[in-house]
Structures are given as C-alpha cells and as structure tokens.
C-alpha cells in the first residue's frame, strides 16, 4: 500500500470536486496538488496501464489527433486514460491520471494517451511506459513562452532520445522539421504523409514558411505545398528528401464544414475514411491518428470506423446549435492555425459572418504580433469574403487593424470588446440554418464557452 500515492490521489480528487463546486473547469489544480504530495504520481499510475503509453506532441492538432487516437483505441475495445481539455502541461497530465484512478490507487486501463506540448516531452518521457510517440508538426507558437522554433525542435529531439528502443515513433513526412527527427534513431520510425496533390499549391502563399534543411542548413526546395511549410521538399545541397510515408492519404475530397472523405493506404492495403472534421489540417490529424494506431497493430477497418465516429473535441473546432442556428467555434492560436481556419471558412461558400476574438493573457500568448503573420489577405482577396466581421476580446482593435490592412473594407468591421456582445451581434446577423464562424484565442474560447453554457446551449466542457 503506497500511502503517499493514495494521499496524492485523494487530495487531487478532492480538489477536482472543490473547483467544480466553485464553477471552474480548472483542470490543472488537482494535478498540482497531487504532484506536490507525490512527485511520482504520473509514473506510478501510468505504469499500471497494461499496454503502455502513447505520447502525442507537436504544435498544432495535438488535441484533435489525440481525440481521434482515443476513439480508434476505444473502437478496438481498449480502455484509455487520456488528458483532455487542452490542459497538456505536466499538471494536466497528472490531473488526468488522478481522476482516472480509483480511491485505492488503481487504474484499470489498457493505454495511457498523453498529449503534451513540445516543452513538456522531456519531463514526462521517463515517467511513461512508452509504446509510441506521435509528432504532428512544428510551428512558431507563443514565442514569449517556448522560445525559438529551433529550440522547440531540439527539446522534442532530446525527449525522443530518451524513449525506449522498442517504442514506435510516428513522424509527419511532409513537415521537414518533424521528418528530420527520424534519421539515426534506434527506434522503429513510421512516416506518414499526404500523397494526393489535388489540394497542393505549387508555391507557398508566403515565402516566410520555407524552412532550412535539418541535415545541412541549406534552404529547402519545394515541389508543392499543402499548407504553410508542409509539402514535398528536397534539399538541393545534401540531397535529403521527404521520406516515403508508410501510412498515406492517397486521395482526399474536402466537403467544407461537413468534413472530408479520403482513401488511406497502409502496408496492409487501401481503405476509405470519412471524417466529420473540416479542412485539410484535420485530414493531417486523422492521418496522424491512423499512422500511430496502425503502427500499434490496430486493424485498418477499426481505424476507419474509429475515425468516422470521432467528433469535434472541446473548442478546437466544434459546432454548437443555438436556436436553429449554428456557431462553429475554432480555436486560433498561431499563424498556421489561423491560416488553416481561414481556408476552412472559405471552403464553406455559405459562410457570411464571422467573429474573431483575440485575448492576450498568458495562456493566449501576451504578444499578439502573430496576427500579422496570419494570411488574412487570403480572406480579403477571396471571391467571396465574409459580409461582415466582428472583432472582439481584449485585443479586438488590433484585430480590426489587421483586417483593415489585409484589404478588408473598414466599414464591414465592427469592434465589440465584450464577447457576450460579439456573440449576440453575430447571431443576430445570421439566419436560421446558417453558421456563425467564431474564432477565439484560448482564454477567449473558455469565456465564450461559459457564455454559451450559461444560456444552456452546451454542457460543461469537462463533461464533453
């Protein structure tokens, strides 16, 4: 009987109850409490998971990808412990295990599914019985917190070096920064990528995305781009090329907000997959989830049905029904993410009105300069730009300026700092059956979720 562990779990669980009773969704405090009492709480609980742990990291798509992995594993009748709600710092991980454990300190699960940001990989890698690591992509994200991109890649690389030799490492072949982590490692490396070039563009929208070769530092040459710096690349200097993916998307058809259809290929064959998540970047998320679960031996048909049943997870991109209207909430937190959302909005030719809510609290990143790296020019120069945009949040005016300088008509921009006002005004502008596109940063998303919840349109997010 490990009394320290039990005490940590009890106090953690008590904190969860307290914070819920006080109306917060606070998903890291229980973890802080438990870790303070027993620093080994993650290790002690994770090692009880019968089949081991899967670690998901990268800049964008962690939460959605993890949700998909979890749904596939559950389809395969495995029990999964998963840290959700985007609380993917070490405290969030500890909180998830504490909540999953019973009062006797036991966890009945097959897999621990742990999503962490790049900076946390090293801190958890030794505490998990690792079976697989999945790396999604690397983008610049909240520089004031993580430091520079090279440093971020380095942090993950060091984490991977400490993964057990029999672990699987699934890497995005289309992202040169991720694929560059592969060569020279003793572990089994599985690359995934998109082979269908239908949605590729011959040149990047912005030259800013081109990355240096990870092997020699020369500027990479691209044959085509999927989005940002993801694409088909090669190094003119040392000859490094994009690795041939084992799990790939052979064909894809985007159906706007409805989702996407695709044909996946693994070394066991081709199969059709339909997902309900919109946009090309969710195709990447589904592909990544398919790659790691395939690598763990899940049959293709289970992967397909698991992905088909998966639905939007908290706030990343979800549709909430409000009095016969729909609000599509899409979290935005960095240029690549916002570019992907802009593409999705434009894919829906019926999209007429938008709200963009920018906060600059710690969890959002206090520096909002990244708005200027977002491709709002694509939105404004489209042949069907939105009829109106409401900007909201603490930095509503900055967002309005950004839109104006992207070429969007100033008279169609409304500034409403209050998220409540912005939501009401946005809903008033759309008709029944229409969708309001609502793009909040992290804390703005929490706020707007709370506003919607108070009106009874959705459940508490920790129960989703």
């Amino acid at each position: 009987m490990d009394l320290r562990l039990l005490f940590a779990i009890w106090c953690g669980k008590l904190t969860v109850r307290l914070s819920r009773a006080m109306g917060g969704g606070g998903s890291t405090v229980p973890g802080r409490v438990a870790l303070a009492i027993d620093p080994l709480v993650i290790r002690k609980l994770a090692y009880q998971c019968r089949r081991g742990a899967i670690l998901v990291t990268g800049t964008n798509g962690k939460t959605t990808t993890s949700k998909m992995v979890s749904d596939i594993l559950r389809r395969a009748r495995y029990r999964v412990v998963h840290n959700r709600s985007g609380a993917n710092l070490i405290y969030g991980v500890a909180a998830a295990f504490v909540q999953a454990a019973n009062v006797f300190g036991r966890i009945r699960a097959d897999y621990a599914l742990v999503e962490v940001d790049e900076g946390t990989v090293r801190k958890v890698v030794d505490q998990l019985p690792l079976k697989a690591v999945l790396v999604t992509n690397f983008f610049r994200d909240q520089l004031d917190r993580f430091g520079e991109l090279d440093h971020t890649v380095q942090l993950v690389s060091e984490g991977l070096s400490r993964a057990p030799y029999d672990a699987l490492i699934a890497l995005n072949a289309d992202d040169p920064l991720v694929a560059g982590l592969g060569p020279g490692r003793p572990q089994r490396i599985l690359y995934y990528g998109i082979e269908d070039s239908h949605y590729a563009s011959p040149i990047s929208e912005q030259s800013r995305e081109i990355k240096p070769c990870q092997a020699c530092g020369a500027t990479l040459k691209y044959d085509s781009f999927f989005y940002a710096h993801l694409g088909r690349y090669r190094c003119p200097s040392c000859g490094q090329t994009r690795p041939t993916p084992t799990v790939s998307v052979q064909q894809v058809a985007l159906r706007g907000v409805e989702g996407s259809d695709m044909i996946l290929r693994t070394d066991t064959g081709d199969f059709k997959v339909n997902i309900t998540f919109p946009g090309l970047y969710n195709v990447y998320n589904a592909l990544a989830a398919a790659a790691v679960t395939h690598g763990l031996g899940i049959p293709d048909h289970t992967v397909a049905t698991g992905l088909a049943k998966s639905a939007g997870s908290f706030g990343r991109m979800e549709v909430i029904r409000v009095d016969g209207k729909r609000v599509l909430l899409a979290l935005v937190k960095n240029p690549a993410g916002i570019d992907a959302v802009i593409r999705t909005v434009l894919e829906d030719r019926r999209a007429r009105h938008m709200v963009i809510a920018i906060n600059d609290k710690f969890a959002d990143g206090t520096d909002i300069s990244w708005l200027w790296d977002g491709d709002f020019e694509r939105l404004s120069a489209s042949d069907h730009p939105p009829e109106s945009v409401i900007t909201s949040g603490i930095r509503a005016a900055d967002m309005a300026v950004r839109l104006k300088y992207s070429g969007y008509p100033a008279r169609r921009i409304t500034i409403k700092n209050s998220l409540d006002d912005a939501l009401q005004e946005g809903l008033a502008r759309i008709d029944h059956g229409e969708t309001l596109y609502f793009l909040p940063t992290y804390t703005a998303m929490l706020e707007v979720r709370e506003i919607i919840r108070r009106r009874g349109y959705t459940r508490h997010f920790w129960r989703v």
């Binding site: 090279d150 800013r208 600059d360 300069s369 200027w372 603490i394 900055d398």
Partner: protein
Amino acid sequence: MAGGLAVRIAHLYPDLMNLYGDRGNVIAIYRRCQWHGLAPELLRITLDEKVDFRDFDILFVGGGQDKEQKQICMDFTKVKGAALSDAVEDGVVLLAICGGYQLLGKYYRTGTGEEIPGIGLLDAWTEAGRKRLIGNVVISSDLVRVGSDHTVVGFENHSGKTFLGKGLRPLGRVLLGFGNNGEDGMEGAVYRNCIGTYLHGSLLPKNPALTDYLIGASLRRRYGEAQLKPLDDTIESIAHEAAIHRARQPVGR
C-alpha cells in the same frame, strides 16, 4: 494606382527575419502608400543579393532567430553593409526592428564576452542581458507629434540591451515598458531617416503617424516635397489607445 508617385519599398530577408509579425510593418507602409494615392512597389531581398539601396525609398529589416541572425550578420557585414550605409547617408528611409536594429550598431557582445560586429551605421552597441525584457511599451516621440499626442505603442521581447553613443538620438522616451536596456529610459535610435527600435506588435499599423512620417520622409528625398492628406484612422486610433490602456495593466492577466 496608376499615375501616383512611385515608392520603392525593399523588405530585407523576408524569408529569414520574420519573427514577431514584422511583415505587418511592410504591409502598413504598402497599404498607406496606396491609400495616399501613391504607387508602392515591393521588392524582397535576401542573402547574397548585392543591391544599390539608393535606388529604393524605404527599406525594412526585422528580427530573426539566433541561427538566422548569424546568417544575416555575415551578409550584413560582408555583402550589404556598405550599400546600406551609403543609402542612409543619402537619406533613404530605413526601419530596423529588434535583431535588425542590433545589427546596425557597432557590435553585439554575447554572454561569453565575444563581440559580434555590426555595420556601425548607428553609434550604438548591444550587450547580452540575463533577463528577457517582455511586454507592452509606450514611448513619447517627437517624430510623431500630432497636436498634443506624441505616443508610439508596441510590444518588446528582447534580452539584448542596447546603449546609444552620446550624439545619437533615441526614437523616444519610455513611458511604460523597458526600452533599449531597461536602464536609461530611452527606446530606439534615430539617425537621418534611419530608425532602429525594439518595438514590434506590429509597430507601424498601430502608429499611423509614424508610418506617414516615414512615407513623407521618403517622398521629400525623392520628389522634394510631400503632401500627405490625412486618412480615416479611426480603427488605428482605437487600437493605439487600447494598447496604451493595456500597457498600464499587469502583463498576461
């Protein structure tokens, strides 16, 4: 905008120095030129390109990551430095932010005491600091005095501390934030039509008076005069005021 006066803008190293939304500054210059009825032309210039910068009207260089900063440092000192100095002496407008600003000085002294040479266009030098200076900044600058308002707003994020030689004017005095070094209350530097500063955010979009100052200076150099009619800057003014308000509050909350 056929018929308008041409304004040639050069964005240096857009592929390498693009941290912190620096392209917002170029977008701001370009758009406001259009709105003023001018005919802006934007060229991107990268490593190894030898250019006579006197052919341009406005030059911009931003900040980069360490790795890129080193590449640019080489290119600055070996390839472009002299041409840049010539252009600034000739009155060309140059805006340099953060890493770009540091490279215009005499040197950057690293934590280990190593001195990385800059091009010495500005009588200034930078020393590695232990603490990162991060947050919203408000300065007062005579360059943008419009009536009683003379504030410039931005966001800083640097660990290098820059000091100015005796004869060099700062861009402004710090009202809120750290500025060049967090010690002497000065922010940025102005030499002829060259401005170096730590402020991004992006800097120019929220400071339309500064943008117009730069465009005006470039027009005076090439065409001898500049008459910029005031534009409708309602949204920019709201953002400017909001940034001042935000700078008074604690960071991150």
